[in-house]
């Protein structure tokens, strides 16, 4: 790579490291979309030095650089290792991609005031247990040092409850990997509606797959991709077929954002987002049908 080509990357790195807008970063800012620019302006108007007494273990340096990085690279959001945060990460990925300013307003409000108002007017108020825990998560890979993501995911899990959370309502250390953080399909769709005020059209459930034939499901998903954003609820183990196991529990395990779906001969090429990357792979139509338990489409607000 030539030096000239490196300049934008260096400037971007400089913005991330210094955590402020500089003359150099003006070039970058002009390349961002208006919502990203508004989000960064919000961040630049904030006090990024003082720790919030409401979140005693959140380090401002980690918190604000994490938000800035999320705004600039919404595709890099990662739920971390050993967590049940996939639903929150998938929703956040889309929220930051399309409404970074709204996300920034909400997370800053959570940080400074301990609560925030969602699009639906629901007020998100994380419990003291969660506020004490944010910043202390360990054994979760990079999430350990991504304090904004810790705060955000914990706040989401703490405020949205479904039947899977019935017996584990109160957060304890380590609960990010238990039923406390789990998300059932209806809870997921509710979160999408509440956070962004989106109209969600959902097919499928936690137990029974969408009642469409293989070809119809493929066509349905392609149509939905043409009209809006699509998130799918899948059995993740079936996405990686192998012959080492005798039995796979037929149940959904994971939420991902669907990006592309193409037919190549008798196979389907699928491109979806999870764990901070897009995954591209070929699967059979039969496996596609077997894997998918829910298709949530956002068509309009």
């Amino acid at each position: 790579m030539k030096c000239k080509e490196l300049i934008p990357y260096c400037s971007m790195l400089f913005v991330l490291l210094t955590n402020k807008v500089t003359c150099h970063s003006q070039t970058i800012l002009s390349e961002l979309n208006p919502a990203q620019q508004r989000a960064l302006e919000l961040l630049d108007r904030s006090d990024t030095i003082s720790a919030s007494p409401l979140w005693p273990h959140i380090k401002p340096v980690y918190f604000f650089s994490n938000i800035r990085s999320n705004i600039l690279y919404p595709g890099k959001i990662n739920q971390g290792h050993n967590t049940n945060f996939c639903s929150y990460a998938a929703l956040t990925h889309l929220l930051i991609k399309y409404e970074p300013d709204n996300y920034t307003r909400m997370i800053l409000s959570l940080y400074y005031t301990g609560k925030t108002t969602l699009y639906s007017k629901k007020i998100l108020t994380p419990s003291k247990r969660v506020r004490q825990a944010a910043g202390l998560l360990s054994d979760n890979g990079e999430l350990n040092i991504l304090h904004a993501n810790q705060l955000w995911f914990l706040a989401m899990a703490d405020n949205f409850k479904g039947y899977l959370n019935l017996f584990d309502h109160k957060y304890s250390i380590g609960d990010e990997n238990t039923f406390w953080a789990a998300t059932n399909y209806s809870k997921f769709n509710k979160m999408v509606r509440e956070f962004g005020g989106y109209h969600v059209h959902a097919i499928g459930s936690d137990l029974i797959r969408p009642s469409r034939s293989k070809g119809n499901l493929y066509k349905y998903m392609v149509n939905m991709l043409d009209t809006g954003l699509v998130m799918i609820y899948i059995n993740n183990k079936l996405m990686y077929p192998h012959k080492f196991t005798l039995f796979n529990l037929p149940a959904p395990t994971h939420f991902v954002v669907l990006y592309e779906l193409h037919k190549i001969n008798d196979m389907i090429e699928i491109k979806y987002w999870d764990y901070g990357l897009k995954t591209e792979q070929l699967i059979t139509m039969k496996r596609l049908k077997k894997t998918i338990y829910g298709v949530s489409s956002i068509t309009k607000r």
Binding site: G75, N82, G141, Y240, F244, T245, L277, K278, T279, Q281
Partner: protein, 178 residues
């Protein structure tokens, strides 16, 4: 991932893993060196998908994409990408042969944060301990490049979640082979 690998650890397979390692010590070391050299060209993980070691999967990871190529369904494209990323094809074939020889199911890298410090480890998984009506279990050898002496690591060893079987080799079991 390291902790995920540690979940489900049990005491009984310790001897099995240690003997597997000692029987294949030279091959495992060569496999790791081969894999590390290829990984430096472009990040990837790879392994087999069937018990006869006929079909393999290569997962190439770029800055934004995780592309999965299966030799059963996508062999031509797999090789196109092997060439596109300038992998040493001879080394790659040697690595695959080595994996097949020692019945290694998967080779990859994982990371773990100790405080603010990120450590990356290579790992290999082998021999499914799958039995009917039992959770799927795989044996995993974790192969750090240098001595890891963090208190968190020692705690895992003390609890028996990780078993050290050589100076730079740890063992655990997991319900995922990749």
């Amino acid at each position: 991932m390291l902790l995920t690998l540690a979940i489900g650890q049990s005491c009984s397979p310790e001897r099995k893993s240690a003997s597997y390692y000692h029987e294949n010590k030279r091959e495992i070391s060569e496999l790791k060196n081969e894999y590390d050299a290829l990984y430096r060209q472009q990040a990837f993980s790879a392994g087999f998908t069937d018990k006869t070691f006929k079909y393999y999967v290569m997962q190439i990871i770029t800055d934004t994409l995780r592309a999965i190529y299966n030799s059963e369904k996508r062999k031509d494209e797999l090789w196109q990408n092997v060439l596109r990323f300038h992998y040493d094809t001879v080394a790659l074939k040697r690595m695959a042969a080595m994996m097949k020889k020692i019945k290694c199911l998967w080779v990859g890298k994982t990371d773990r944060y100790f405080g603010e410090k990120r450590e990356v480890f290579s790992y290999i998984s082998f021999q499914s301990a799958d039995k009917a009506f039992r959770e799927n279990k795989y044996y995993v050898l974790i192969l750090p490049d240098h001595k890891i002496d963090y208190p968190e690591m020692q705690e895992q060893i003390r609890k028996g979640k990780l078993v050290q079987i050589d100076s730079l080799v740890y063992f655990t079991t997991t319900n995922r082979y990749r």
